[in-house]
Every structure is written in structure tokens, then in C-alpha cells.
Symmetry: C3
Subunit: 396 residues, 3 copies
């Protein structure tokens, strides 16, 4: 329990600006805010590991809205809500009247009476997902101001077209645990690289989120991808600026090998270029199925010219002592397991499989921390109360 | 907290006949019962506004069954259940075996072990929705008598072909708040009027519910619709009778302007006539798609002859001091927002938008009050216990 | 409450090997383990009947995965979870990425962070359902060993191709209650017989589960079916062996009348033969719709030659004093109610209808007992704490 005390103490000198704020992009948050989210997540984990209930709500609702398929994040959101005592009500647009011409403003208010948080995944359309979240957030803000909503229900971004903050923050917590501290991440080289996959249309939010976040902590962030697989220009700018401010580095290369060279961490993952995603967005909006099929075919053909962008044993040998930490948001396209040729070879993946599972295991706590800090003004006080209240999570 | 005490005190002299009873039609309930539901709803709201937990169940299930799409009521039911500590299990007939020939009696019993309440929406078929609810309620009653069900699980009508009591009671609570008291509603003129919408097949339960409920409180209820848009004759009878007993008035006019004249409250809303709904019910039962298309076309053509039935600034000027309270169950068909021409002009709606949101915000509390009073014999005692127990809803 | 004390006392001398174990087949469990599950189920029921909360989890998740339709078991699982304080998160493969090539191992781990239990129904494919459950269980075991999962999340079989333990154990608890004790079941004759139904493809798990379980308790188990409707050979072996060990009997007959003769209990239910199920499994895997239609046609024709296998008044007269207890897992195919000719006549079913409902009512408690015993090392201690803690389930 000394660990628990030191975790809570660690939160005390940080300036907290998270209360009643949405969590949409990590680069809109101060360094202190990011550290608070990490610290609250660790404290919640420590409490649960010591069989102490983290239920801060006797009743309350968390709303989820998934505009794209999801298993991991859906479960992580549910678990985060459950950790805090919230019941999850899913907004399934197929079953609702949302499609029948309701305004976002109205729906946002209607689903938010008595709700603490809305978690939204909306990552299919470039230029749309984050915009939608901001529209919801604005509606909730106004609804609260106007006396419609008793609380300022907040929005948590469960993946959009720009960022995937619950993923990147879980990844960061994993790195903090793996290397011992945030301080230890300074100067560590992380290779965020594109990798081959026999599929197309994967969102850009993970690589964008990683380069936008890891540059905050003085890391040496190297982005690698074939020239066609560009990220959003504004995300590149963010990463550049962050690296400058934190004393880190942000470099770009068109060689996976270069990126792996001497890397402490590698994050090989497939994505589509933002230009392709923009074309796809247009075609989806027009319901142009012929166009979509044509685009897919072209993209798969282009992908296929980069089959050598696989994270295999040879490339791993280039990394620091041949032992870089392999990361992935999962599910990975594993050669000879989930496909004939993919992002990572079977042997590399299997070596790091347990680590990737642990990486994923932080997500419920990160989401819970985002909810808690948006709804609780003084997290130190409340976490201390949880510790002292000492209600067993499991009776016995 | 003095408000809390006076709310609880206000419940003390009312005769309570709600325990172990279903809530199907407001006109089956005594005036005292209606006042208890309002009072319990207000008390629950006051408790929550003071951060006091309203959790009366440590465990327990609320079952929802939506035989028609729903966002608002689905969320309201979930929130009502959560307020009281109940977990919601949805009966999705698509995923169940219900469609495979099970009797209503059996299913009703099977889903109700350990369940406190079943909330049902069944509003598509004239003559069917309320009938189905009664069949479920009868099965639950027998199941309880026979020792199958440990509790008399109760049914709450979340909208049927006849009434929409959770809506009309929320509307009443909104009026009580807006005008200060139920007493103040006496003599107030409410215009429940048909309005144009470019759609057809909207249920009759809202206008029927409004004329059936508001006539209980001495209001001057004016129903207005084009001659083709008749409500169910039995609902007209109910309203007439209620007005006689309460010292109110119930009048009918075929002019929207007449209805608005000097009105304190206007409730302009589209609906289909019961004759159309009966035809539609027949065609739906026969799966006669051709017939349905033809009926829709005819109805839309008929609708179109009444496009001037829009709640616009000119008509609002006819109301009491030009300032009648505009009400709607939402979503409204707003001209130039959700359609080219609809129930209400953009400017009128925007003026009252926040009020309509607040109106909707009462629904979770009304449903919670209906559940609480059907499951708790002595609400005054239990609400007092909640107050004195004083468990914080949010820790802090 | 003396009943409560004696129920808890009854658990004290039993050797408990249920902790951190999956519940997949009753015949993998010791007699003591089965008695513990029954006893815990009864204790939970007694606590709830005395309005004492059985919430042992302040937070926690139960995952459900239904690979076949279900109403009863879905509701029973939810209620079991709710009884213990768990929130249910359903794994809907349609909405998830499971179908996109994820390995079972990965998904099992991903959905199980912070989850106490996964309840799985997978009964469509011979040779597949139980196998899948074991694969999930193995993944969870490894995940726990590897430090990925903080708890050894356990698997509860909610029906597979081999056994239906939550059904057979509920049936056993019903029998225990009906006849007064497990001891009283010794020597009682139970006729598990095939019955005619105008449908095909019904799983074999219920008859297999019944002959596998009831032979453990010294019962005289008679299996009857037309020669074509064979059960899995390994299940026949299990029943034979069990009967030998318990001092019971296991016999097979091709005559429904023989089986009913002098029976204390009759359980007439339709099923497909395992050979048909194997053929169907192959065709389903091949998506051979023509083959499936042909198979269905053949099977229905074969079924029709056994229309006289109906549990009617005449056959009931053959049973012990003409008063055997009729059992069914529901829904039954009732002649002149749910079909023209079915498993049971209307008059027989109606006579025993309430008993079959009560039989079904044990299932939430059986599932809750399976979860509790897999997650709690010392159930006697925890049940005693629940009793002494004495928190009201409903306030009042």
C-alpha cells in the first residue's frame, strides 16, 4: 500500500485543468494533465489490485456511441464505466431515430440527461469524426449552461480521424511501466512505422496519436512509411512542434530499416494515406460502390509493392541490442497466422505477444481516469477517500 | 433541503393505490396516485440534485421491450432504472425465440424471474399495443399468484396505441414547474392541436394522452385537428368525462387559430387519424406492401392539403399575450431545419427549444417514480430513508 | 432464517474444488462440487427471499457470448450476474472484429481484462461448441499465468454440443425441491424420452446432460428414443459408468411407453440424432444450402413417422400412480397450442405448466452459484458474511 500512497502523492503537485473538459486530442492537454490521467489510471489499478472498490458513483450513466466496429474499445469503455460505478447505455443509431433527421444538438442533449460521459468512436471519415465530437461537446456545454443538463456531460474520444487518445495514453502507460518512469523515456528512440497489410482503409489515428504524444516526453520519434502513406499534415506539424518543446526529436524516413536502427521501441502498423482516406470519404458520402471497389483494388495493389515492410527477425536485429520493445494496438496482421503476409512475422509477434496484451490491458484504466478527472474536481481527495473507505471489491 | 422535506411531506396525505399495480393509462389512476407519481419524481430529482443517492435496489432487473424504434424513451427507461439501482436487460425479439411461437404467458414469466418491472413500447398497431401490455400484466399477476415469480413484476407503458403516460406525466410535471403548482393549472387553456408534417403514421398516443390527463386538473383543453384526423372515440369520451369531473373544459375545433386564441399553452403535433391507423394495422398484418404504399401516398396527399397547420409566429400571436408556452414531445418536424415545411417554424421552435429540452428531462424521473411506487409499498418511508441515509451519489 | 443457517451448514463438510475452475460438463465435477453448486444456489435464493443483498462484487464484469439465439438463458445469465453485482457486457460477434480473423486466444484475453466470467452458448455444431469453450478457457488460463489477466476469468457453459449444465443442474435442483432431498431421488425412475416435434436440428445437450447428471444420484434413468435418434456414444458411456458408480441404473428402450411405465419423472423432448447433427455441421461449414434443405426435408419426414411419440394423458397413466412429474426445459412444442402435433398434449402440459415455470426459475441461481464458486475460494465464509452483513436488497 506504500505504492498506493506514493501514487496519490505523485498527483499532488500537478496543475489540474481536466475538470468538466472533454478529452479529444492529447495535444490539447497540458503535460500536467496527461500526467494526472496516467497517475489516476495507475492509482485505480493499484486500488483494484488491492481489492479496494473504485466505485465513485452510486448511480450514473456512461453513453457509448460506436460509429465503427469495435470489440476492444467497447469492452474497455464498459469496464472503465463499471470500475467507477456507471451503467453503460449504448446509442445504437440503427435502432434509434437519430437517422430520421434529428439534429446533433437535440440528440446530444436527449441522451445526456443524468449521463456523466459520452464515449464516441467515429473514425471512418476524414474531416468528420473529430468534428462530430466537437459538435456533440458544444451541444453538451450549451445544454449545461442553459440548465437542461444537470452536469456538464463530457466527451471522450474513443478514436476519430485525427487521434486515438485512449490508445496512445495506454501505450504511454505501458512504456512508463516497461521502462520504469516517464523520465526514463527521454531520449529513447521509438520507430512508428507503416507496415504491410493485405487490407486497406485502416485509420490514421494510431500513428498520428503516437507521434503527437510521444514527442511530448523528450523521445526520439521516428516516423517511417512509403512516400504514398502520408499522415495528416497538421499532425506532422504537431509532432514537430512538440519535439521542439520537449527536447525530443521528430524525424521522418522512407526506410523501415532506418527507423528500426537502434530503436528502443518499434510500432509497425498498417494504415491508409490521408489522401486515400479523403477519396474514400468522398466515395462513401456519394455511396459510390463502383468507385469504392476501384479505389480498394488500386490501394491493395499499391500495398502489395511494399510487402517487404514487415517487422521480421532481421529488422528486429537492427534495433537497440536487437531487443526493441515491439508494440501494437491489436489486432495485428500476423504473417502465417491471420494472413499470408502481414505487418509482423509470427516469431516476432509471439515473442512480444504477452507484452502487447499487457499494453491493451491499460486501456480500461486510462478511460476510467479520463472519466474520473472530467467529472471529479479534486481527484486526489477522492482517490484518498477510496483508499480510506477501503470497501472490498470482492467480498471475502 | 427544506424543499426536500416539503416534497416528502406533500406525499403524506395522499391515498396510495400504486403498489404492485401496472401503469398503463393515466385515466385508470386516481388523482392522488397521479400526484404521488409527480411528487416522487420531484423528490428523486431533488435528492439527485443534492448529490444524494436514490439507489433503493442493491440488485434487481428492469426489462425493456421496444417493439418500435426509440432513442429518448430507451435512454429515459435506462436512466430511471439506474437511478434506482436496477440493471436493464433488453428483450430484443429479433435475437430471442419469442418469434418462434412462444406464448406471451410463458415469455412474460421467463423474463421476469427476479425482475422488478417490464417497460414496453408497442405503438404500431391500433387495438394491439395496450392489449399486449394487459396480456403481459395478466401473465405476471398469475405467475406471482402461482408462486412462479417472487415479486409481482409490474408493467410500465412506454407508449401504446392509446396512451403515452410517461410522456404526458412528464409534460404535466413540466407544466407544474413552469406555472408553479398544479393548482395554478386550473382554468389555463391548453391547445392540443394537429400540425402538418411531411410524414404519416405517427401514433395517436400523445394527443390522446394529453387530452386524457390535462382534463383531470381543471384545465381548459382544446383539441384541434382537420376533420379527417380523428382520435379514438373512447379517448374523446374519457377527456369529456374528466373535464366534467374536474371543473375543466374539453372542446373541439377544426381551426388551429381558434385553438391558439388566448391559449396559455400550445402543443402542435402531427398524427394520423385512427381510421388510417386501423387500415394500416390491417395492411401490416397482411404484409400488404402494395396496400401500404398506396395508403401512404393517399395520406401524404391529404396531409399536404393542411400545410397551413404550422405553429408559426402569426399563430403564436393569437395566444395569451402572444406568449403561450410551446410544448412538444420531440423530435419536432421543424420547417427549414428537419424538413421543408413542418409542424413548427424555425423561429418559434428556437424560442422554446430549451423549454422543450427541459420538458423531456423530466421523463427519467417520471419513469423512476412509476417503478418506485409500483415496487415500494410506503414511498414516504423509503424516500425519508434515502434522505437520512444520505449516501453521496458522487463521492467527493 | 434457520433455513438459511442450515443451508450454509450443509456446505461445510463438502470438499470444494470449484475455485478458479470452468464449469463445462457436469461429469467433470465431483459429487461434492455438484452439491456445493446446488447448496450455494439455494442459499442465494434464500438470502434474496429474505430481502438480503447477495451482492459480492462492488464492481466487475460478466461477459456473455451467444452463438445461437437465446431468451431464457440470456436473461438467466444477466440475472445471475446482477444478483452478484456484475455488469454484463455482451460479445456480439456481428458488431465486433472477431469475424475478421482474430485468434480465439487474443479475443479471449482482450474481453477478459477485469472480467470475472464468460458465459458461452455454442450448440450449433457437433464437435465444435465444447471445443471452442475449452480453447477460450485455455487462453484465459494462460493469460492469467502470464500476468495479462489479473483474475483467472472462468468459463461457464451456457449450452454446447455435449452438455447443458446450467439446465440439468436447474432440473436437479427442481427435483431436489420437489422430492425433498437428493437422498430421496435414489431409485426414482426418470424417463428421458425423445418426443415428436415438427422441427428438426434441436441440440442433443439436454438429453445428454440429463442422463449424464441424474445417473450420479442413484436414479433409475431410462432413455427412450426411436432407433434413429441416437445420442453421442461418449455420453452414453458416461451415463452407464455413472449409474454403476452411484448404484443407479441406466437403461435404453425404443418404446416411449416402456420408459413411462412406473416412472416418477418424465422428460419428453425432441432432438435430432447426432448423425444428423454431424451431417448438418458439415453442410453448415460448406454453406451448402441445397444440402441443408434436403437434409431438413428428410429429417422432417422421418420425424413424422414418430408422431405417436407424444406425451399424452394415456402415456402419463402408465407412470407411477399416473402422476409422474412432467419436466421440460421450455419452450415445449405443445399440441394445438404452438403446433398441430408436438411433444406434449395440451392437457398434460397445462397440468404441469406451473411446475415447468418453477423448474426454469432455478436457472439464475444455478448460474450465480457457478460464478460465485469459481470466483470465491471460501463460499461458506462469504455466504455467512452476506447473512451477517444483512444489507437489504430493497430498501424499506
Amino acid at each position: 500500500m506504500s505504492n498506493l500512497n506514493s501514487l496519490i502523492d505523485g498527483l499532488k503537485n500537478l496543475k489540474n485543468e481536466l475538470y468538466e473538459k472533454d478529452f479529444l486530442l492529447t495535444w490539447e492537454k497540458s503535460l500536467d494533465d496527461l500526467k494526472i490521467v496516467l497517475g489516476v489510471a495507475e492509482t485505480l489499478k493499484c486500488l483494484r489490485d488491492n481489492n479496494i472498490s473504485t466505485r465513485i458513483f452510486e448511480s450514473g450513466i456512461g453513453v457509448s456511441q460506436f460509429r465503427d466496429n469495435s470489440t476492444r474499445t467497447r469492452f474497455s469503455f464498459s469496464k472503465a464505466c463499471d470500475l467507477l460505478g456507471l451503467y453503460v447505455q449504448d446509442l445504437d443509431e440503427g435502432k434509434s431515430q437519430v437517422a430520421h433527421g434529428e439534429t446533433v444538438r437535440e440528440t446530444s442533449n436527449m441522451i445526456s440527461f443524468l449521463a456523466e460521459v459520452i464515449g464516441i468512436r467515429d473514425d471512418m471519415y476524414i474531416g468528420a469524426g473529430n468534428t462530430y465530437m466537437r459538435e456533440v461537446a458544444k451541444s453538451l456545454h450549451e445544454g449545461h449552461q442553459e440548465g437542461v443538463l444537470p452536469e456538464r456531460t463530457t466527451v471522450v474520444n474513443l478514436q476519430c480521424d485525427i487521434d486515438h487518445p485512449t490508445q496512445s495514453m495506454s501505450d504511454l502507460l505501458h512504456l512508463k511501466n516497461y521502462f520504469g518512469s516517464l523520465e526514463n523515456l527521454k531520449g529513447k528512440k521509438i520507430a512508428m512505422t507503416w507496415a504491410y497489410s493485405p487490407s486497406y482503409g485502416k485509420p490514421l489515428s494510431v500513428p498520428q496519436g503516437i507521434i503527437g504524444l510521444m514527442t511530448r516526453f523528450g523521445m526520439d520519434v521516428t516516423l517511417a512509411h512509403p512516400k504514398e502513406y502520408k499522415l495528416l499534415p497538421e499532425c506532422m506539424e504537431v509532432a514537430k512542434k512538440n519535439a521542439g518543446l520537449s527536447g525530443g526529436k521528430f524525424t521522418y524516413t522512407e526506410s523501415m530499416e532506418d527507423a528500426f536502427k537502434n530503436a528502443d521501441i518499434v510500432y509497425p502498423k498498417s494504415w491508409a494515406s490521408f489522401e486515400v482516406m479523403e477519396k474514400r470519404t468522398d466515395l462513401l458520402k456519394k455511396n459510390d460502390n463502383e468507385g469504392l471497389k476501384k479505389l480498394e483494388k488500386e490501394c491493395l495493389a499499391q500495398n502489395a509493392t511494399y510487402k517487404n515492410w514487415e517487422c521480421d527477425e532481421a529488422k528486429m536485429k537492427l534495433s537497440k541490442n536487437g531487443k526493441a520493445l515491439y508494440m501494437h494496438c491489436l489486432p495485428a496482421d500476423i504473417t502465417d497466422v491471420s494472413c499470408k503476409a502481414g505487418e509482423v512475422s509470427k516469431s516476432v509477434f509471439e515473442k512480444y505477444r504477452v507484452e502487447t496484451y499487457k499494453e491493451a490491458g491499460f486501456k480500461p484504466y486510462i478511460i476510467a481516469a479520463m472519466i474520473l478527472t472530467s467529472r471529479i474536481k479534486d481527484p486526489v481527495k477522492v482517490l484518498t477517500m477510496l483508499k480510506e473507505r477501503n470497501i472490498k471489491r470482492i467480498l471475502g
